[in-house]
């Protein structure tokens, strides 16, 4: 049992299942939550187990239903609301930003809004401009919201349990390309505390801080760099707000070099926040200008011909690191072989999602 492995989507499912079993006030809702696909498998079997009152499909009313979730939280429930795309949650920004984030503060701490809003992000397979956005920087900007982006099955379960048990609104962001990755997940209920980053690969030559799926790209990059005797330290940021910058600062003091790899856009993106903190608190340790790997500042194109130039991958991290360390003159990435599909998480994936 100690080496039990689960896929990321199963870890999410198990976290919800265990929270619902432990606490009758936990309920989940979202369009398609009880449907045969079960939100990429993350909610499969839960309605059969807990009934249609606690595992609810819902009207396609993102904003209204976010308000409903808030109201229910105010009177003792713990809602978990799911959006199959983060883009859909934009319709609910009013309730999230004006109401959920501030209810505790604006009424002087008398009430709280314990709720989790799952938002799914992704890349590839022609998701296009309105099915692909990674807007974590928006949410992380708002005091009163917590923002979580797990990258491993272990963290997916532990962070989701901690999020459901948290007494604040938590934006829980899941990357579709992570759902099928496998990793160690203990069967018992455990928590990964919100607000703690994690060093997932130690190194002394350069610090790569990453969010969500970019953590996997960073690990691939670190493996490639290791063959060249470059020891990269990879930090999974895990929680964007509250942000734990201590591990990143400590790492940069050791390595002197920083790359931030985020799934969002570059301008006013989350990577900028990390670079700013390092500049403010560890400037004298820097041996090279910190770099951000992020999406170029344009909407997501649909055709794979353009999308392959849109998403930064391990090769881009490697090229950036080589340039920063003076190994290459520039960060140009050699053309990848045309027969390698870049719009799917792995070769078993045949769409449409």
């Amino acid at each position: 049992m100690t080496n039990r492995e689960l896929k990321f989507f199963q870890a999410i499912n198990e976290a919800i299942d265990q929270c619902m079993a432990r606490d009758a006030s936990v309920y989940i809702m979202g369009l398609g939550v009880p449907d045969p696909k079960g939100i990429f498998g993350t909610t499969l079997g839960l309605q059969q187990k807990y009934g249609s009152k606690r595992v609810m499909d819902m009207p396609l009313s993102e904003n209204g239903m976010t308000g409903v979730a808030i109201g229910s939280a105010l009177v003792g429930m713990r809602p978990v609301l799911t959006h199959q795309r983060m883009d859909f949650a934009i319709l609910s920004l009013e309730e999230i930003v004006n109401q959920a984030a501030k209810w505790h503060y604006m009424f002087g701490g008398q009430m709280s809004v314990p709720m989790v809003i799952r938002m799914i992000i992704g890349r590839g397979w022609g998701q296009g401009s309105q099915h692909s956005q990674s807007l974590q920087a928006w949410f992380a900007h708002v005091p009163g919201l917590k923002v979580v982006m797990p990258a491993t099955p272990y963290d997916a379960k532990g962070l989701l349990v901690a999020s459901i048990e948290d007494n604040n609104p938590v934006i829980f962001i899941e990357h579709r390309w992570l759902y099928n990755i496998t990793g160690h997940v203990p069967e018992e209920t455990y928590r990964v505390p919100l607000g703690q980053a994690n060093i997932i690969r130690e190194g002394s030559d350069i610090t790569i801080a990453a969010t969500s799926h970019m953590t996997l790209e960073a690990m691939h990059a670190a493996a490639i760099l290791a063959k060249e005797n470059i020891r990269a330290e990879v930090i999974d940021i895990r929680t964007l707000n509250p942000l734990d910058d201590s591990l990143i600062l400590e790492s940069v003091r050791k390595t002197g070099h920083l790359v931030v790899a985020d799934t969002g856009w570059k301008t006013v993106g989350f990577g900028g926040e990390i670079v700013a903190r390092v500049a403010e608190k560890a400037f004298s340790y820097l041996k090279s200008p910190p770099r951000r790997l992020a999406l170029p500042d344009c909407p997501t194109p649909t055709t794979p011909a353009l999308a392959k130039h849109y998403y930064p991958r391990a090769v881009h991290i490697v090229a950036t690191v080589r340039q920063m360390l003076g190994i290459s003159a520039d960060d140009a990435v050699p053309d990848e072989p045309a027969d390698v599909p870049l719009d799917v998480p792995d070769m078993t994936f045949t769409g449409p999602f």
């Binding site: 309920y27 009207p59 109201g71 229910s72 939280a73 309730e95 004006n98 505790h104 009424f107």
Partner: protein
Amino acid sequence: METMKPEILKRLYYQMLRIRMVEERIAELYPEQEMRCPVHLCIGQEAVAAGVCANLSRDDYALSNHRSHAHYLAKGGNLKAMIAELYGKVTGCSGGKGGSMHLVDISVGFLGATPIVGSTVAIAVGAALGTVMQDRHQVTAIFFGDATVEEGAFHESANFAALKKLPVIFVCENNLYSVQSPLSVRQPGNREIFEVAKGHGIASYQGDGNDVVQVYQIAKRAINRARKGGGPTFLEFKTYRWREHCGPNDDFNLGYRTESEVRDWQKRCPIKRLKESLLTDGILSNQDIEAMISDLKTEIEAAIVFAKESAFPDKRMLLEHIYAL
């Protein structure tokens, strides 16, 4: 319509008078510039809050919008804490962090008021869902204005409340204006607001919002029905705001409405109307009313002294209450 018990009529009169006197005193003191937050006074609209809340028990919930003083007071909210909140004091109902637009008194089920139009409708429906999920037999009333039915959040909430037959009372105070914009530029003239809710399959009624007895009786039926599991009801009450949208003054000088329109509505003052019938029917005497006014003055002045003498929140409070523990 049932006959009204004298005790209830007296209570309704007292409630409206209290709200009116609190609002008028706020308007008098506002120019001192010590209440440093926007205030949206409800003078002229007291009957809706009084008539609806008289049918709610302490355990029932109510939520409101930016113009919430009447709803807070009628639901039983603490007057001292409300005035202190307007003065930004630590003794305020939100510790000074909310002001007039963020009133709350959990002890009497007033779950909160916020000024983004439509948002608290969804939150109220959620509170009702939460009570049903916990098998608690409470009713939730949500107060809002005529413009709220122009918001998507309203329709999303009404649809869901109807779908789940939730114990919610949608109370629309139709005062004909959203800020300075009249209903005629915002909604089609051949459709009454209460008919909108019917489209969502919600039982829906319209009444004179300046007739507190009518409000009371219509609300009573709706609340009893919700309490028995009969689902939501939408109530539209036509009424009128006498003062400016935000602040203590008259505003016919702005020209968006005429002085004669305001004067016409003032002739239909809900408090004066009830007073006349109570005097005629011998339920209250002029001396009774004078005594009420005197008691209320004492209570209101005590609340103002309390507020003025209370401390401001300490600097350390700035960064407290961002996250719940």
